[in-house]
């Protein structure tokens, strides 16, 4: 489903964000990417939906090298990947319904489809009654749920999340994690960059630990960090 082969990313200011990364994520997996700030987690995430392009190596998503995609094919790639951010990235002048509908509108979905699918995903993320609320009227957790609804409304097979609980308190974070776990059980492949040690340790999922642009550990049913002996 996702494969990184010898991927190196050097930014224009000569900062080496990723160095010889090899990673394979199969369909239906739930993968935590952990590590200190500047370890390269976000860069790794951004390579997947071609927000960034690898300097060297191959990033293969759905069997295609995303670096080689024609410009016109990038939107099609992004429609198969739902993206969730720490700062939600909602549009402040649209209510929850319209924020979610936005993702369908840009894919030129018919109006009938929008009216059917948006309420369905809002119900799935537990915001059935908040459809008319604007982002500033919603709590952080609710805003993130709207963002998740927007990410999944297109029915993507991959969900990538960059610190999705970074701005949320622990209880709210758990609500979001339960939602992501449900989506994972329904078949979505999830890759989540995070600092949330408690969450990673409790969920017992695959953990990819990074430091200084390298993968230093890749562990099934892993924890945030090895016990210091």
């Amino acid at each position: 489903m996702i494969q990184l082969i010898d991927v190196t990313k050097v930014y224009a200011n000569n900062v080496v964000a990723l160095k010889d990364i090899n990673l394979r994520v199969d369909r239906g997996e739930f993968v935590f990417v952990v590590g200190p700030s500047g370890a390269g987690k976000s860069t790794l995430i951004r390579l997947l939906f071609r927000e960034e392009v690898a300097t060297k190596g191959q990033v293969i998503v759905h069997g295609k090298n995303v670096a080689r995609l024609r410009r016109s094919s990038i939107p099609l790639l992004r429609r198969t990947i739902g993206v969730i951010f720490q700062d939600f990235k909602l549009l402040p002048d649209r209510n929850a319904f319209d924020n979610v509908a936005f993702a369908l509108e840009v894919t030129e979905a018919p109006r009938r489809e929008i009216r059917r699918r948006v309420p369905a995903v809002l119900e799935l993320v537990g915001l059935k009654d908040r459809a008319k609320a604007y982002p500033h009227e919603l709590s952080g957790g609710e805003q993130q749920r709207v963002a998740i609804a927007r990410a999944i409304v297109n029915g993507p097979s991959i969900l990538v999340a960059d610190e999705p609980t970074g701005n949320l308190d622990p209880d709210t974070s758990w609500g979001i994690m339960n939602l992501l776990q449900t989506l994972n059980r329904n078949g979505a492949t999830i890759i989540m960059a995070t600092h949330a040690k408690a969450i990673v340790n409790a969920m017992k999922k695959r953990v990819v630990a990074m430091d200084h642009g390298r993968i230093i550990r890749d562990q099934a049913e892993g924890v945030y960090a090895h016990e210091v002996n």
Partner: protein, 295 residues
């Protein structure tokens, strides 16, 4: 593009125009003024061309006769003129008739008329028309060589000068229009850039959720076209009113200058101006988006 996307884009366009109302208005007015200058040049050029063509059609040779020439000599000249190739009509103008015409033109200048009436200084003449404008010059040259002819006048020179002026105005008008078009493109591009900047978050999110470049671009291009077209509509209204006014006052004050009537001319020009405004708007916004879409 599907109809839902079309409506979505129109909403985006309206949003952009509203958010950026003052700047939008400024660009609309700039476009209107620039197009007005262009339109005025167009009207002047077209009318001068019309004038020149009219003059060309009316060309005739005036052959002035020596006062010493006998009536018999006059008839001989008339016969010879009629025999020239292409000549269709030869009309004799006596000294008295010439004076009457002069009186009609200078009706206000009493001093001059009094002087002229005492002793008529005007020559007898023949007015010679040819079938085609091209036959004027040979006819005039031949007439000048006839005995008893002292001078030959024809309007060819006037016509040529008129055409030269028209050409000069057309060329300088084109240069000015190109410069104005560039200015308009820049103004609109700048306005659209402000809208794009105000909505960069939205654009970034659109890209994240998989909007194509075309989908992102078109509301902005639409906005530019609306700006250009609205400016053009102002211009057309101003030209319509202004030309009507100029036409009426020139017809009353300077009836010998035959301006083209407003009806077909301004309709054609209106189409051209609105098309130009819209195109310029589209080019302007496309230009400002090129940089912004590289994410």
């Amino acid at each position: 593009m599907k109809s839902t996307s079309f409506i979505f884009g129109l909403k985006q366009t309206a949003r952009g125009l509203r958010q950026n109302a003052l700047m939008s208005l400024a660009s609309v007015l700039t476009v209107a003024l620039s197009l007005l200058v262009a339109g005025l040049f167009g009207l002047i050029t077209v009318n001068l061309g019309h004038l020149a063509r009219l003059a060309e059609q009316q060309v005739e040779v005036t052959v002035f006769l020596d006062d010493a020439l006998s009536d018999q000599g006059v008839r001989a000249v008339e016969a010879q003129l009629k025999a020239l190739p292409g000549v269709t009509q030869v009309t004799f103008v006596s000294k008295d008739q010439a004076l009457e015409r002069l009186k009609a033109v200078f009706a206000d200048d009493k001093d001059l008329l009094a002087q002229v009436e005492q002793e008529n200084p005007l020559y007898r003449s023949f007015e010679v028309r040819t079938a085609q404008p091209a036959q004027i010059k040979p006819a005039a040259d031949a007439a000048a060589k006839l005995p008893g002819v002292i001078k030959v006048n024809y309007k060819q020179e006037v016509v040529e000068r008129l055409f030269r002026v028209t050409r000069a105005i057309r060329v300088s008008g084109l240069v000015i229009m190109v410069a104005l078009a560039l200015a308009m493109v820049m103004i609109i591009s700048n306005t659209i850039r402000i809208t794009v900047f105000a909505r960069r978050r939205e654009i970034a999110i659109m890209k994240l959720v998989g909007a194509t470049d075309g989908f992102i671009r078109w509301p902005f291009v639409c906005e530019g076209m609306v700006l250009g077209a609205s400016g053009a509509v102002f211009t057309v209204a101003a030209l319509w009113i202004g030309y009507g006014w100029a036409w009426n006052s020139i017809r009353r004050g300077l009836p010998f200058i035959p301006l083209l009537p407003r009806q077909p001319l301004l309709f054609e020009l209106a189409g051209l101006i609105i098309a130009a405004g819209t195109l310029i708007g589209a080019v302007g916004s496309a230009l400002s988006l090129r940089r912004f879409l590289r994410v």
